[in-house]
């Protein structure tokens, strides 16, 4: 069975120079789509990926990642909405490049579909009450 998951990978300093993604493709036959990357030499690296492949390969690939010391988090947790601050105005709706904010009718409340979120961060500063927060 095929799976496609969005994950955040944290690379410790020692692994930044290693061809880890290459191995995911070559040894585990996984496909990847880079959503966001910040990898600088001699510092911790961060990579946001959509990983897809058959379930068994995916699980083996994830096991490999933890074994070499890469920390994995599911992506959906990384941008979240502070429900108390959100006023459901809608300033975010047209700003989001992937359509992760959807106006619910007839309530006119703004729904945040975190599955569609690619953690670009555009909504954070476009939100007047600063209800969108990034957690990495």
């Amino acid at each position: 069975m095929a799976v496609a998951k969005r994950v955040v990978l944290h690379f410790p300093r020692s692994l930044v120079d290693e061809p880890i993604i290459y191995k995911l493709v070559k040894d585990f036959n996984l496909q990847f789509n880079i959503l966001k990357a910040s990898v600088t030499p001699n510092e911790e690296g961060l990579l946001v990926l959509e990983l897809s492949g058959d379930r068994e390969s995916y699980e083996r690939g994830v096991k490999y990642l933890s074994e070499v010391g890469v920390k994995i988090q599911p992506l959906s947790r990384d941008i979240y909405r502070n429900e108390e601050r959100c006023t459901h105005c809608g300033a975010c709706v047209a700003i989001c490049p992937t359509g992760a904010f959807v106006l619910d009718l007839p309530s006119r409340r703004v729904k945040f579909l975190d599955k569609k979120c690619i953690v670009c961060g555009l909504c954070i500063k476009a939100c007047p009450p600063r209800a969108m927060e990034m957690r990495l």
Binding site: R85, T87, H88, C89, G90, A91, C92, V93, A94, I95, L103, S107, R108, R109, K125, A126, P128, P129, R130
Partner: protein, 400 residues
């Protein structure tokens, strides 16, 4: 048929008043007709919750020992400058005030994470606020410096006093240029990438009372979660604009100046907000009750989004350069559908004013009235109407 405010208040006192929101009343009038509905319904409640920059609060912080005269000194609340050009310990904090060290747009677009609106929200939330001030010292007010924490309970008066709120209709902002622009109407993407509007439309107070027949000076209102009053017409109150056949302004028109006790208000209804590249401000919740004194008044209050038109303005050129160009007019029904057509292009829309919060305000005010906690007031004086012939003067620059 006609009713008086005294009669309606008597019904409120007995718990018999029939109250509906400006949304609910539409269906009732459709079903029963204007004549019957006007007999049955006593009050229509409205609501709006949006960024309103000409808002502020005055406070009296009390006298320290020894005394200090903040008047004509330099005063800050959480590092945000407050105006102190009054007597010894009265201050006014405006919604858009920013700390001296805020980078503003030096790092474009600026973030404006904390300003006067946030100070007001924190104050209402009961949080400690740092008051710092320097003064010049006098024989009767010898202190030259003070640094202390204050909060809503420790100070004497705390009064929200907004000089322009509740705009009767507003522009729809778009961007015709090829770069993203950062405005008080939000982030506008290039080449008509999006269109932002800012009105509750059919729920908005003055769109339900287009000729100010019941809303006047002294009208008791929902303000920031407490009760407040209409103090005056707001600045830039210009009733004499293009209006539709239904009397509803097709441009920004009337405005309200409102006042109320900050100590009764709540942070859910006074929200400090930041507009990227523009500045800090305050979102204010306002609800105005409309007494159904006649069929005519009820007729105005049944206005729907289909019948309210707003002008589409290019904020990359026409607005900043103060050109009169209007690209088109569009109804709030279209705006609320999620997309409009501008110059033949489909443009996604978004609101800066919160409709769900506006609904909540109209519902809350309705509950207050039904429970006999809120009585209607007769205006002390009317707001200037169309006949006042007010013109919106530009600033003509001159040096002599």
């Amino acid at each position: 048929m006609s009713k008086t405010i005294a009669e309606i208040n008597e019904k409120i006192r007995k718990g018999q008043a029939v109250v509906m929101t400006a949304e609910e009343i539409v269906g009732v009038v459709e079903k029963k007709g204007l004549h019957k509905a006007a007999q049955e319904v006593d009050v229509v409640t409205t609501g709006t919750f949006g960024p309103m920059c000409s808002s502020g609060a005055y406070i009296n912080v009390g006298h320290p020992q020894p005394r200090i005269k903040l008047g004509a000194g330099t005063t800050y609340l959480n590092e945000v400058p407050a105006y102190a050009g009054f007597a010894a310990v009265d201050l006014f904090i405006g919604a858009t005030s920013l700390p001296d060290n805020d980078p503003r747009n030096r790092t474009y677009p600026g973030e404006f994470n904390y300003g006067g609106g946030h100070v007001i929200e924190d104050l209402v939330a009961g949080k400690d606020i740092k008051l710092t001030a320097t003064a010049y010292g006098t024989d009767c007010y010898p202190r030259k410096k003070i640094e202390t924490l204050i909060n809503l309970h420790s100070i004497n008066e705390a009064v929200l006093f907004d000089i322009r709120n509740a705009y009767q209709n507003y522009n729809v902002a778009v961007n015709l240029s090829s770069r993203t622009i950062y405005t008080y109407m939000g982030v506008l993407k290039p080449d008509l990438g999006n269109a932002n509007y800012c009105s509750a439309g059919q729920l908005s107070p003055l769109l339900n009372d287009p000729f100010y027949k019941t809303t006047g000076i002294g009208t008791r209102i929902f303000l920031g979660g407490g009760t407040g009053y209409v103090a005056w017409h707001g600045t830039q109150h210009v009733p004499n604009v293009l209006r539709g056949e239904n009397g509803v302004p097709k441009r920004g028109a009337g405005t309200l100046s409102v006042i109320g006790d900050l100590k009764q208000m709540r942070p859910e209804w006074l929200r400090g907000v930041s507009f990227q590249g523009y500045g800090a401000t305050l979102m204010v919740g306002i609800g105005v009750p409309i007494p159904v004194l006649s069929e005519e008044i009820l007729g105005y209050a049944t206005v729907t989004d289909e019948d309210i038109l707003a002008p589409i303005i290019d904020y990359s050129d026409a607005y900043p350069l103060k050109k009169p160009d209007v690209l088109d007019e569009v109804s709030y029904a279209d705006l609320k559908s999620g997309k409009i057509s501008v110059n033949g292009k489909d443009v996604p829309t978004a609101s800066l004013s919160s409709y769900p919060k506006a609904v909540e305000i109209a519902q809350t005010l309705k509950e207050w009235i039904k429970r006999g906690q809120f009585f209607l007031t007769e205006p002390v004086a009317p707001l200037p109407g169309v006949e006042a012939g007010i013109t919106f003067k530009p600033l003509e620059e001159r040096l002599s």
